[in-house]
């Protein structure tokens, strides 16, 4: 991703296209793994296309809160947002992995669910909702999974403080 000139490894890329694309979305290569950057609107469509391509297995789905690290490297044309949903896909036939990263804005943390394509994302999506407050539109049972039902806030967000016992000294840095 940090490479200035990412290698165009897919045959579907037209010669004159400077920006490598795959299924119509920007793609980079990070340590031998193709990383696709679809928009929220094209997310499910791209994952479905990858499914047809052989990526039948959704290994993992998680989210990242980039609140305090906004300057990450993204391919041209991808607008950085606060949240990112990261999906790891695996093709059993080709023995390759690929990754899908979707940008999600802070003021509207909604993304369509992957559940119709990969039913195995049911629990990971619930976890991402539980920890980051990202709503998965169309998920059949979007409830907290690890935290108690009546918990306030989303613990893995960067502006959620880790628990700390108040120390009674002057000049103690406030809990982050």
């Amino acid at each position: 991703m940090t490479d200035a000139d990412p290698p165009a490894e897919h045959e579907s890329v037209p010669e004159e296209n400077v920006l490598p694309m795959r299924h119509g979305v920007p793609v980079t290569e990070e340590r031998g793994v193709a990383v696709l950057f679809p928009t929220r609107e094209r997310y499910v469509e791209v994952v479905r296309a990858l499914y047809d391509e052989g990526f039948r297995f959704c290994a993992d789905l998680t989210a990242v809160d980039y609140l305090t690290h906004p300057g990450r490297a993204l391919p041209e044309g991808v607008e950085p947002e606060r949240f990112e949903v990261v999906v790891q896909l695996l093709s059993h036939e080709d023995r390759t992995r690929c990754r899908v990263r979707v940008q999600i804005p802070h003021d509207d943390p909604v993304i369509p669910t992957l559940w119709p394509v990969h039913p195995g994302t049911e629990a990971p999506e619930r976890e991402a909702f539980d920890m980051f407050g990202i709503r998965f539109d169309g998920h059949p049972d979007l409830t907290r999974i690890l935290m108690p039902e009546d918990w306030d806030g989303y613990p893995l967000r960067k502006d959620y403080a880790v628990g700390r016992i108040p120390v009674q000294f002057k000049g103690v840095p406030p809990p982050r």
């Binding site: 793994v33 290994a59 305090t68």
Partner: protein, 444 residues
């Protein structure tokens, strides 16, 4: 504690607050679809029709199995809807052991990280350390000395054996072969004693570190390991006598908790559950890491996808792991057990007394930690329970910006409603046991 609330509608529009299995009368079709038909690619109407069978809902009842039930391996709570003895629907409810380890991981340096992750899957701690260290090493771009690689492989395979012995013990106990519990724990304990000799601890070793391992193998380790390898085969044959061919055991496990290959792949199941359906997918063979492409072993595959297959796969994986351990003993390379990179691995204690530079490196490593280049990486290893993954995002600092562990038990638990459906409560015990969930990893 400061908390962050999402927008109001976010809370209002989700059915937050209902983790439990709802009454049949209150269950909308899409939820039934989740429980029954999603994997089979049914429509909502078909799923609803599936659930129509028991007409009056006072014939069914919802009961809790766990979180204190002994056969739920810790604090797994399974809500079952029963008609008599038959399980109609079920839902695992988890989170009782959640300790926020991913959040903690963001606050620990890369040097402290393995201490945290090793406590996740407490039956197979080496794999957690390994996957974390492999992720960090890939971000830095470290090349390990061969002895470190083979030591890691040796410890991991011994750990796979101890984890599968633990499974044999608990699985036997759950199904009623109580003596099996004693045998399984006995064998596991012998392995733990070897771990204690090598790492100093029986569990939660924090032995695999970024850049290699924490210490070299002690004198005489070969004898201990070889003595074990000689002692185990007759005992495994005893297991076969005691369980494999035994009619009661077969009655209890065969055709129980059946899952097909398509269902397993769709639900993200890995490890023995996926292999029991006939999919020969073992990351050690299919996407080799460490030096697994240099050792000789077989991938054990089942064909029926039932509890018996999963039992037999784990039993035979012990034998395969013993093969690998023997090769590790025979071919253990000499040399460094960790990278000689002063920025990553701390200097030996003796150097600190005589070298100012070593003292500075030591101080910097343990106060500030080492910096890891910016980037993201997802590494995987084949843990005894399946694909154990670690996703690390680094912002260039000494702590991971985000550390996520893909726990195989967590994902594998999703297969439970499919395994339990239509079975008896007694079979539910066998099916839960055959998934072999470790709650520390499920809840993290």
């Amino acid at each position: 504690m400061t908390t962050t609330h999402g927008p109001e509608w976010l809370r209002a529009e989700t059915d937050e607050g209902r983790q439990e299995l709802t009454d049949r009368r209150d269950t909308p079709p899409h939820e039934l679809l989740r429980e029954t038909g999603a994997v089979l690619r049914m429509s909502e109407a078909e799923a609803a029709r599936l659930s129509e069978e028991p007409a009056a809902s006072d014939e069914t009842m919802i009961i809790n199995m766990g979180p204190q039930h002994p056969s739920t391996h810790g604090v797994l709570r399974v809500m079952l809807e029963l008609r008599g003895e038959e399980v109609l629907r079920s839902k695992p409810v988890i989170g009782y052991l959640h300790t926020g380890m991913e959040k903690t991981g963001e606050d620990l340096t890369y040097l402290q990280g393995p201490t945290n992750v090793t406590r996740m899957d407490y039956a197979a701690p080496f794999f957690n350390e390994l996957v974390y260290c492999m992720a960090v090493e890939e971000l830095i771009g470290l090349e390990l000395p061969p002895r470190a690689v083979w030591m890691r492989m040796l410890l991991c395979e011994l750990n796979r054996m101890s984890s599968h012995f633990l499974f044999q013990a608990t699985n036997g106990m759950d199904i009623g072969a109580i003596s099996m519990m004693l045998y399984g724990w006995r064998e596991r304990d012998e392995i733990l004693q070897v771990f204690e000799k090598i790492t100093g601890l029986r569990m939660n070793h924090n032995f695999i570190r970024v850049g290699g391992v924490a210490a070299d193998l002690p004198d005489g380790w070969e004898d201990d390991v070889l003595r074990m390898l000689d002692a185990f085969p007759p005992r495994l044959d005893e297991y076969d006598d005691l369980l494999t061919g035994q009619p009661i055991w077969r009655e209890r496990t065969q055709d129980v908790g059946v899952i097909t290959a398509e269902e397993a792949v769709a639900l993200g199941a890995t490890g023995p559950i996926l292999r029991s359906t006939g999919v020969p997918w073992d990351l050690r063979r299919t996407m080799p890491y460490l030096a697994y492409d240099e050792v000789d072993f077989d991938v054990v595959v089942g064909s029926y996808g039932d509890a018996f297959d999963r039992y037999a796969i784990r039993l035979n994986e012990i034998r395969e792991s013993m093969k690998i351990v023997r090769q590790c003993v025979e071919r253990m390379p000499t040399g460094d057990y960790r990278v000689q990179d002063k920025k990553v691995t701390p200097p030996p204690r003796s150097r600190i007394d005589e070298s100012m530079e070593a003292l500075i490196h030591h101080f910097k490593l343990f106060t500030e930690g080492f910096k890891v280049p910016e980037g993201e990486v997802y590494t995987v290893v084949e843990s005894p329970r399946g694909e154990l993954g670690c996703y690390i995002v680094s912002d260039g600092g000494p702590r991971p910006y985000r550390m996520h562990i893909r726990g195989p038990s967590f994902v594998n638990l999703q297969t439970l409603p499919h395994m339990l459906r239509g079975g008896l409560v007694a079979d539910a015990v066998a099916a839960i046991s055959s998934v072999d969930p470790i709650m520390g990893e499920v809840d993290r």
